[in-house]
Amino acid sequence: MLEARGIVKRFGGLVAVNQVDFNVQEGMIASIIGPNGAGKTTFFNVLTGVCRPEAGSLRFGGEELVGRRPDQITALGMCRTFQNIRLFGNMTVLENVLVGMHTRLDVRYVDALLRTSLFHDAERAALKRGGELLAFVGLRDVANEVARNLPYGAMRRLEIARALASSPRLLLLDEPTAGMNPAESQALMGFLRRVREELKLTVVLIEHNMRVVMSISDRITVLDYGEKISEGPPEHVQSDPRVVEAYLGRQARAH
């Protein structure tokens, strides 16, 4: 489904992502892990078109992504969340979700101006689907609250709902459990499984929480200093000495 070949991304002299290959098959939950500064988020930024890679190709469902704008990539069916939550704070919960539907709304400016039946139908459908999505993430009761007033966990779920609203086939989540306690993380894991099962989505995850990663992932990719150092099912990665070195070795040195 998603096929990255030899992705290279540099910032000045720093090579943030170096020759990374990365494949995702339909229906799987793939995780990317690695120590801080390993280039995980940069890799996400390349995937979603936020930065353009210096080299490499990136195909999604047969389409080349390199050179496309983020909004075009979203329209193709790939949507993400952010490491530090980036909701539209002064909009309501429901509006956040409706913004996510932008690419799927087949109405034009003129329709909005003239209030054509097309517009009304589309708005009605969007409201219905927004309600469903909010119900799905358990935020329907607060649909009219302003997003910035939500509790932290609810913000995370809203961000996912907003991404889901763009009807992606592939969902990219950047550290969804960051800042959550174990119980919340547990709940989120259950939620992700449901996303996969009920919505038939493919998920790529950046995660630090090993418990989450190991229990949920079908395949794990480990990045260190921008390079892929290991890849495989959880048990394979867990026992890979290079992974242990990357995590522990650095920690040992740091202390």
């Binding site: 980036r86 539209f88 704070g89 309501t92 932008h102």
Partner: protein, 448 residues
């Protein structure tokens, strides 16, 4: 204004006074204020009282239908009647209308899409000059064609919208990558460029007549006046003079355009486009990641905002009978921006209130204050203050002439307003919506 725009008329209000009583109060208020404005044609308070009744109407918890009907009566019937007894009030109302449209247009760019535009008056100038050049003898000077006939006024209302919209896109295209203050400085530059062009394009080919300005600018045709005057003559009454009719024509034109502008703003704001703009304002990076095409949406915001200014520019030129570049300075842009922010960014009533307040303050209240003080001074009024003692105002130095310090007072008012009401007078609220017929979906555990 449809549902949700006002808190009124909802059953949630637990007011001690029943809606019927509110309706009566509103009606009485309107009637008394209009009556007193006509009876006391020189009373500022009476007129302010009347204007405020419109806002009372907006906030009174009465049925929407009643509110719309009363509002229409006030604006379309009572205001002209008051204007007939004092032409100045009609002028104020017309200028308020012009600035309301400008503020609403800028509100789309700055308030909704969050793009700081310091050169907004440029679009006003585009609309104004478009008609001023084509609809006056300047057309002959610039293009060697006869001035357009007065009925062209109406097609040009549309054309000025288009022209200003195109100017908006032309400004938008090169600057879309810029953010925040960089955008601000470039739009400021654009505004200056348009003004300097207007001031200098009297050579090598004379398009704008430079600082000498263009006069007389064409006015809309008065189709009805001949027939009406014949009828009046038949009744043995004196005919209406064109010059006496025009202020009313422009008032109604401005009101009509403002109504359209409000409708457009409301509809666009309450649609996928408005949501996309707000999303861009809130977080550009997140918005684009959610699939919002930044370039298209920003251009759309620029074009929509600009088009309001364009059409008002045209009306302004025609109403003024004369234009020259002095009407399109940077301070004018700043003035409109102040209206938007003062009223409350990102919402329609806020922009309307901001524009009304600033315009009335500038044209009327501050002037009245200085005239009053000047009157006291010339009459040699003696002010007695406790402790300080008495002072004859006539001996006040000539340097302290009150009329000279209106802008200083305006500055102080701006500062105080911002300190005590930083969100603007009517801060933006998000619209609450009902969620109907949602298919029962399984609830996710909500322990978070």
């Amino acid at each position: 204004m449809t549902n949700g725009a006002a808190p009124a008329a909802s059953s949630t209000r637990r007011s001690a006074i029943p809606p019927a009583a509110w309706a009566l109060i509103a009606l009485a208020y309107l009637a008394v204020s209009a009556w007193s404005s006509v009876r006391l044609p020189n009373s500022l308070f009476a007129f302010l009282f009347f204007l405020s009744s419109l806002f009372l109407l907006y906030y009174a918890p009465v049925a929407t239908v009643l509110r719309v009907v009363l509002g229409a009566v006030a604006l379309l019937l009572l205001m002209p009647v008051i204007g007939a007894s004092n032409a100045f009030y009609l002028e104020v109302a017309t200028q308020v209308g012009i600035f309301v449209a400008l503020a609403l247009g800028l509100n789309i760019v700055v308030g909704l899409a969050g793009l700081l535009d310091l050169g907004y008056v440029a679009f006003f100038a585009v609309g104004a000059y478009l008609w001023a050049v084509m609809g006056s003898a300047q057309a002959t000077v610039a293009f060697g064609i006869a001035p357009l006939a007065s009925w062209w006024f109406f097609p040009f209302l549309v054309l000025s919208v288009v022209a200003a919209g195109v100017a908006g896109v032309m400004l938008g295209l090169p600057v879309l990558r810029l953010r925040g203050d960089y955008l601000a400085i470039v739009t400021l530059g654009f505004g200056e460029v348009i003004r300097v062009l207007a001031n200098n394009l009297d050579k090598p080919i004379n398009f704008t007549n430079g600082p000498q300005g263009i006069s007389p600018v064409g006015r809309p045709p008065l189709f009805f006046l001949d027939a009406w005057n014949r009828w009046l003559a038949g009744m043995g009454r004196a005919p209406w003079e064109e010059s006496a009719v025009y202020p009313f024509v422009f008032y109604f034109l401005v009101i009509a355009v403002v109504a359209v502008v409000i409708l457009v703003t409301h509809r666009v704001e309450d649609s996928h486009v408005g949501r996309a703009w707000t999303a861009i304002r809130e977080d550009e990076a997140a918005a684009v990641t959610m699939g919002i095409p930044l370039v298209r949406m920003k251009l759309l915001a620029f074009a929509t905002g600009a088009s309001f200014a364009g059409v008002m520019g045209m009306l302004f030129a025609s109403k003024q009978y004369f234009i020259n570049p002095e009407s399109f300075t940077f301070m004018e842009s700043i003035g409109v921006l102040a209206m938007v922010i003062l009223g409350g960014m990102g919402n329609i009533p806020g922009a309307i209130l901001g524009a009304s307040l600033v315009t009335i303050l500038n044209l009327q209240v501050l002037k009245d204050l200085s005239i009053w003080l000047n009157g006291l001074r010339q009459a040699g009024t003696i002010v007695t203050l406790p402790i300080i003692g008495s002072y004859n105002l006539a001996s006040l130095p000539a340097q302290l002439e009150p009329a000279k310090y209106e802008r200083m007072v305006f500055g102080v008012i701006l500062i105080l307003m911002m300190i005590f009401r930083p969100q603007g007078i009517l801060p933006s609220r998000r619209r609450a919506r009902e969620l109907h017929d949602v298919a029962a979906a399984g609830e996710v555990a909500t322990n978070a």
